[in-house]
Symmetry: C2
Subunit: 565 residues, 2 copies
């Protein structure tokens, strides 16, 4: 770190699904000296919905812009009350966002939704990561890439997702041609925010982050950037036109996207000219904020999970089936960034408590706490229950949204805490399945650092994870690792540290609590995991024989019946 | 029916699991003119339990004796208030009981438990039908019969049950030799009550009912009655000694067991000498009370179900795998009696409501009613859920107590009424599986008559049963078909009718409500049943491949973990 008598600071701005958080961080030790959260005002908790289409989830780009001003100005204001802080000592700003969240923009890089004509048009908004309207287009892209033997799917698990960039762009082309034709380009939210605050909005000269491009838009230097015009034209000729405007190399987040414009600087109470880092996704910057390094899996546990790993670029990595992204520099520059995830974790526990939890555990206090207390008294295997954690499909390693939850082993005495524990165990088995897939392909996982509210609040869950995965479970010291990671990139892009690793060494850490596997419990869980894998493979793979299609058949019947209502 | 100016009556006495009911019936039309229920005073709701052994369930024979006096005397007293009733006009008494519920007795036929020495000895009590302490002995008997190619299992589904006579007797021999050695014989409760009230207690001259002997004790005229001394000696030499004392032909319930003794008659307010029919099991007499005849399946729906069919003796019936009994005359004399069943139905709904039902449905009113109301609004297939009805194992057609419940298809939106409906549907699929197994072996099922509280109280459930089974579902007119069936046998044994069928024609009937299958719903259910069978065969049979043993493995792990506590 640059020497000097004065303290230095960086600001991380973390765009989540419902709100944006700004965090002011002390560069000496990562101390988080001030923060402010701004909730997006539009729609339902910040999300624009369509009552006729449960797959649709959009956001207002105007909320993002206002959110930057509000969160940063208030965080700076709060920081001013802290001894030693000075706006002039802010040496960098980093930004992370959800993704893939592409925004259609005009020739000048301004979101179409900010034009009066498209103000209320849902297709002209930001297409939030969890928008699944493009599921047919996703299948089409996968099919096309497989048929033409294009290399594009190799590094994203073999299946293109409805959550990703091209599925959304193509779906807009098919269903909202007016918006599509008006859009000069589609820009990921993670690229749009740095472009906006630095004034470098020209879509054709945009400095794109490798994280969004590599994980979600099939970008790789190996094949000359984004997919070829020929491939895109085979999906739709107009996609090839867009491709013409997507030149330049995508870069890691330690690179500078530009400098804070005077106009934006004034509204947030900072000096103009502060370096702004290239943007990346929340989970990726969160992994950096949690201290990710080779051998350490960072697990961000929330309603779903993101599971992040890095490996030296010198290491030859094969394609890993079912792992949704392997991109050089997407997490830590000069390392492979590997992204996997579970499509529901906290969401499953919430579902059980909301829909199935009996009165006895809801009457007084937090039902999660009440159920966990009872469930913690059980031994592994004692309930005779076994569940599959697929209530929201399976992201890794099956990459199949058309899978569903399963619970087996019920008797007439099965209790709610027993089921609750079985659901927690199922998510732990899902976590282990990801770890084993990585290791099977040569990426070792020695320890796990967990972030997110559940990791910090539930020793019950973390101990089960340690016993099931048979690996120590650590907890990130910071409770806002995404914003911290963004601040780290701000610091590096601003020149305060010479590398991301150097900044991580000073600014990140784990809490002193470590959950270590218990030998006897781990042994029982090893047996139970064998049974989990049997169910996993039977219901989740083509090798499942006659029951391999049961879940899909149920969904097909369900959708037909609902369609006929 | 015998002509005459005066009305005639019969009394049915129905020994259930927790109480005994006496019913006074008008022989002209089956009108139920008076009834009284006596709850067994001993143990927990009449059941003697062992806190150290969940498999143990015994009953006090003294409760049975006192129960006869109390229930019959009070029913007669109530009947006296009805115009036209006269105790002298009671022309027969019939008795049904649970079973297999064998009682160890002394040389005079008196239960050992009535001796001071054995008064508190659990092994000296009646071994209630649901006592599973003899599960190892059951497996041993099945194994021995298979190895020696003895014919005994052919008519009881191929597997001997822990609930049955010889498993219990052999378990007593192994674990309570003092009681075993003191017992001159073991008498089924269904035989004991008629013997006791007629004074024909000599165990060696006992007139045994074919129902208990044929369904539970491997009795058949074809092989000379009970199993051979040689076969029994191979299990234990002392069983062969018991066998010596079990002579004589077992007979149907239209035969007279004897006449009411003066002593018993006095205590219940009836004249001495009233004919008493040979006893049988509750479900079998209940089927008669519900009007069973060829082509009509009688389904007694309670916590579990009994599924009863009859077929003319002239019909050649093959062994039917998984059907727990095919016995000539066990239900209607001169017909094959076929018994099948589901090990949990109402128990599964009660489990869900007690352990899983969310507060919203329990706060006000009956949770079953609340959940059914919401669940009835759903269409077949709409929830995407599918369950296996095995929370208490599977009686027919898999005959496997080591199976457990399963629920598949959960999403993050799955609601409690959806699960409740899926559980009801699962029991309907289980019911259809039994029907199809009968038909596969040449026994047609044209309609179903349902008895029991659930059948009468839940149009929601009955309509699902009609749609799933694609057959009309009728409801028995009587709500106490077991006691009514017993009264019918009392009437026939007493000479008031010349045959059981003739008595049924006058004394039984169905209510006017008929649940008819809806074509469109039946079509969806046919598809869902295909999926149910895939799960059924995968988890329940050896053909299930790698997941065929998952449920048993879970139980093995569970039992080992619990054992190590």
């Amino acid at each position: 770190m640059a020497k000097g008598p004065d303290r230095k600071f960086a600001i991380g701005v973390d765009y989540g699904t419902n709100s944006v958080r700004a965090l002011v961080v002390d560069l000496r030790d990562g101390a988080e000296i001030a923060t402010h959260v701004y909730n997006y005002p539009s729609g339902t908790a910040g999300i624009l919905l369509d009552p006729k289409d449960p797959n649709l989830a959009r956001q207002s780009p105007a909320d993002y812009i206002r959110g930057f001003h509000e969160s940063v100005s208030r965080a700076v204001k709060a920081a001013r009350r802290v001894r030693g802080f000075d706006p002039a000592a802010v040496c960098g700003i980093g930004v992370d966002t959800t993704g893939s969240t592409p925004i259609p923009v005009d020739r000048g890089g301004i979101p179409l939704s900010m034009h009066k004509e498209f103000h209320r048009d849902l297709a002209a908004q930001a297409w939030l990561w969890k928008d699944h309207t493009g599921h047919a287009e996703a299948a089409e892209i996968t099919e096309k890439a497989r048929k033409t033997r294009a290399p594009y799917l190799g590094k994203c698990g073999g299946t293109y997702s409805s959550e990703w960039y091209w599925s959304k762009v193509l779906h807009c082309r098919r269903t909202s041609p007016k918006v599509f034709d008006a859009a000069w380009a589609w820009i990921e939210c993670a690229d749009f925010i740095p472009a906006y605050i630095t004034g470098n909005l020209d879509p054709e000269r945009l400095l794109r982050g490798i994280c969004a491009a590599g994980h979600k838009a099939m970008y790789a230097d190996a094949w000359g950037g984004f997919p070829s015009r020929k491939f895109l034209a085979s999906l739709d000729p107009k996609l090839a036109v867009l491709r013409l405007r997507m030149q330049g190399k995508a870069v890691p987040a330690d690179r500078k996207a530009g400098e804070l414009t005077a106009e934006v600087a004034r509204t947030v109470g900072l000096p103009a000219g502060i370096p702004v880092a290239v943007g990346a996704f929340d989970a990726h910057m969160g992994a950096v904020g949690a201290g990710i390094r080779p051998g350490t899996l960072v697990k961000i546990i929330g309603t779903s999970t993101c599971d992040m790993l890095v490996a030296p670029l010198a290491k030859r990595l094969p394609d890993i089936p079912g792992v949704c992204g392997i991109v050089p520099g997407s997490i830590v520059p000069d390392m492979w960034g590997l992204e996997a995830g579970q499509s529901a974790v906290g969401d499953i526990f919430n579902w059980f408590v909301t829909h199935m939890g009996p009165a006895a555990y809801s009457a007084k206090g937090d039902p999660h706490v009440n159920l966990s207390r009872e469930a913690a008294r059980l031994l592994p295997g004692e309930s005779g229950l076994l569940a599959l954690d697929w209530n929201n499909g399976n992201r890794t390693i099956l990459v199949d949204p058309l899978l569903t939850g399963l619970l087996a082993g019920q008797t007439l005495h099965t209790s709610a805490p027993e089921v609750y524990r079985a659901l927690v165990e199922a998510t732990a088995f899902g976590a282990l399945t990801i770890i084993l897939r990585f290791e099977e392909y040569g990426v070792a996982v020695q320890e796990v650092v967990n972030c997110g509210g559940i990791a910090q609040k539930s020793p019950f869950l973390m101990q089960i994870y340690a016993d099931v995965c048979n690996r120590p479970m650590r907890i990130s010291r910071s409770s806002q690792t995404c914003a911290l990671g963004a601040a780290i990139f701000g610091a590096v892009a601003g020149g305060a540290y010479r590398s991301t690793e150097a900044a991580q060494a000073r600014m990140t850490g784990v809490s002193s609590t470590v959950y270590r596997p218990d030998r006897a419990r781990a042994k029982v869980y090893a047996r139970l995991y064998g049974l989990y894998r049997r169910l996993h493979d039977a219901f989740g793979t083509a090798e499942g024989g006659p029951i391999g299609s049961v879940m899909k058949d149920l969904i097909a019947i369900r959708d037909r019946v609902r369609g006929g209502r």
